[in-house]
């Protein structure tokens, strides 16, 4: 009987393997508890964030949070407008995607459509090494190597800026984008390529007119996941982008991202119960919601793509 491992249905033959001892009977429940821990974690995250966020909004109005353009909770003249932190996050993420999308997509197309199978199999995992380097190391690289290098090219670039950490973050995210879009491109049915070939299409034409459009939602899903990673990335931007919340779109000056702000407050001695303390949970809540929305969109796009291909 051929029964591929992936297709079996767990529990479908339960009667054949009835537990025979007391211990055996308990095992299933113990394992279920292990699996349920993950659900508890999610609930824990939401409750923790919610508790402090509610406390925060009892003291600061929604209007101030979303419409003020200054973020100065650590100064005596306190303003709680979130936009400077969002602008900082958007800037660094923009440069990260500006790096990761072309590099990741081109690598994916090359690996799937051009590279010999042997090279594809060897190169794909070796790209993953890039994603395994600790982010604090990337931060050091951005601050001490990339920034001085860019300062020679870009006039007026400050020691802390959004470009350098953005680019380095992009390098870190490239393997994620490359690997996921390669999965999508590779799974486009061969028959479509053959049809394009029969119509006289060159490899390039086939790739751009047939393969990429077919894999499009899968490719976009990989971009969105990469973007969500960039938004949540902490150490690179904390080290190299600065800690000055500023409502600007100028990437050459020091800014502060949402994540960097959380680190900044955590490093100080902020007592529990103060408004400064609850700000990091409010910012964390927003960060959690943004990445959650991005991840869910990516999830559904990927699902739609798989349904379309198969």
């Amino acid at each position: 009987m051929r029964n591929p491992a992936g297709k079996r249905e767990p529990g479908s033959q339960a009667d054949l393997r009835l537990p025979r001892s007391f211990v055996e009977r308990g095992i299933g429940s113990v394992l279920l508890v292990c699996a349920a821990v993950s659900v508890v974690v999610t609930i824990g995250i939401i409750l923790t964030l919610l508790k402090e966020t509610i406390g925060f909004f009892q003291r600061v109005s929604f209007k101030e949070f979303f419409f003020d353009t200054q973020w100065t909770p650590l100064f005596s003249n306190k303003h709680f407008g979130i936009w400077p932190l969002i602008a900082g996050t958007a800037l660094t993420s923009f440069f990260a995607m500006l790096t990761a999308i072309p590099l990741g997509l081109m690598s994916a197309v090359y690996l799937s459509e051009y590279a010999p199978e042997r090279i594809r199999k060897a190169l794909k995992p070796s790209l993953e090494v890039l994603a395994g380097i600790p982010t604090v190391v990337y931060g050091y690289f951005a601050l001490t190597f990339v920034t001085p290098l860019l300062q020679k090219v870009i006039p007026g670039l400050a020691g802390f800026n959004a470009i350098s950490p953005g680019i380095v973050m992009g390098i870190m995210i490239t393997p994620i984008v490359a690997s996921l879009s390669e999965d999508a491109i590779y799974s486009v049915p061969l028959s479509l390529r053959e049809a394009a070939l029969a119509l006289g299409g060159s490899r390039l034409r086939t790739t751009f007119r047939v393969v990429i459009p077919t894999a499009f939602s899968g490719i976009v899903a990989s971009f969105i996941l990469g973007m969500s990673r960039a938004i949540g990335e902490t150490m690179i931007v904390t080290i190299a982008a600065g800690q000055q919340p500023r409502f600007t779109l100028d990437p050459r000056v020091p800014i502060e991202t949402m994540t960097a702000y959380i680190v900044q407050v955590s490093l100080g001695d902020t007592p529990h119960g103060t408004i400064e303390y609850s700000t990091i949970f409010a910012v964390g809540m927003l960060l959690f919601l943004i990445t959650l929305v991005f991840n869910l969109i990516a999830h559904f796009m990927k699902k739609r793509f798989l349904r379309g291909v198969l």
């Binding site: 821990v37 604090v136 601050l143 991840n295």
Partner: protein, 294 residues
């Protein structure tokens, strides 16, 4: 993949590459090489910066106000304790959850809820886990800014990674082997213990070691729960304050003096060497255990 192999010849019958096509191919190769060569530059640059500082006293000294006297002893020991504790908490939970989902769970609402939940958790930024740890372990459970609070936080962060790696490994075990065990009269748990786990072990262990090597480089969640950046003693118990290697590195990077940056580079070298060793261990284990199984 079968689909591709059978069609390989067809794909090789594309018209000869035009000039544009060759250029496109070149761009593809460059896109692949560029990130990897940047990684090489990173390593060479850091090595050049850090190697003069890397000596025995750097490994065995406590942090100091004087860059030339400062060392990573407390950070190194803190990291080792933290990862040990994290492994102790996260591995049983992760493997247990994976076994449940692969071997026990029926296909119903609760199972798919758990599955969606795990894949979502894997996408939550690590700093959010830090906020969870701060709110839950440090405050509500009053563990303080301690080793155990750090280990619990990291465990929750690793859990989705370990579960997914272990499940992948369990999925590859052919169903026939389970059926053979049942035919011999084994019941479910015995089958799992004697057949499924031993066969899945190489994959599970590799996944675990890789996620632990990720954990050793984690910085943001530990800073958030309040791991200290300056510690001149070794942690004595689960509730001791602690620091770790990445936090010490971050501390040195954020100082303006260049001498401390040299220390940071040396610390990075130690961190990368540890990660390299862990990855090598993962590969070695996999090869060794696979041999034994065959």
């Amino acid at each position: 993949m079968k689909r591709r192999e059978s069609g390989k010849n067809v794909l090789n019958q594309y018209p000869a590459d035009s000039g544009v096509e060759k250029a496109f191919k070149a761009i593809g190769i460059i896109s692949l090489i560029l990130p990897v060569s940047l990684l090489l530059i990173l390593i060479i640059d850091t090595t050049a910066d850090g190697i003069p500082r890397l000596n025995w006293s750097f490994l065995t000294s406590f942090p100091s106000r004087f860059p030339e006297k400062a060392g990573i002893l407390s950070a190194l020991v803190g990291s080792v304790y933290l990862i040990g504790l994290t492994a102790f908490i996260a591995i049983p939970l992760g493997i247990g959850a994976a076994i449940y989902l692969e071997e026990y769970a029926r296909k119903n609402r609760i199972t798919s809820l758990i599955e969606i939940n795990i894949s979502n958790l894997a996408g939550v930024p690590s700093i959010i886990y830090g906020l969870l740890g701060l709110g839950l372990f440090v405050r509500i459970m009053s563990l303080g800014r301690s080793l155990i609070a750090g280990a619990l936080t990291l465990s929750l962060l690793l859990l989705p990674m370990i579960i997914m790696a272990a499940r992948e490994s369990l999925k590859t075990i052919p169903q026939e082997l389970r059926e053979a065990a049942y035919a011999l009269g084994a019941d479910k748990w015995m089958t799992i213990r004697k057949v499924v786990l031993p066969l899945g072990l190489p994959g599970i262990l590799t996944g675990i070691i890789l996620s632990l090597s990720r954990a050793i480089g984690e910085t943001a969640p530990l800073i958030t729960i309040g791991a200290l950046t300056y510690i001149a003693f070794l942690p004595e118990s689960l509730t001791s304050p602690f620091t770790t290697l990445p936090i010490q590195i971050f501390n040195w990077i954020s100082r303006p003096q260049k001498e401390f940056h040299v220390n940071a580079a040396a610390g990075i070298l130690v961190l990368l060497i540890i990660m390299l060793l862990m990855n090598a261990l993962a590969i070695w284990l996999r090869i060794r255990l696979q041999k034994r199984n065959v």
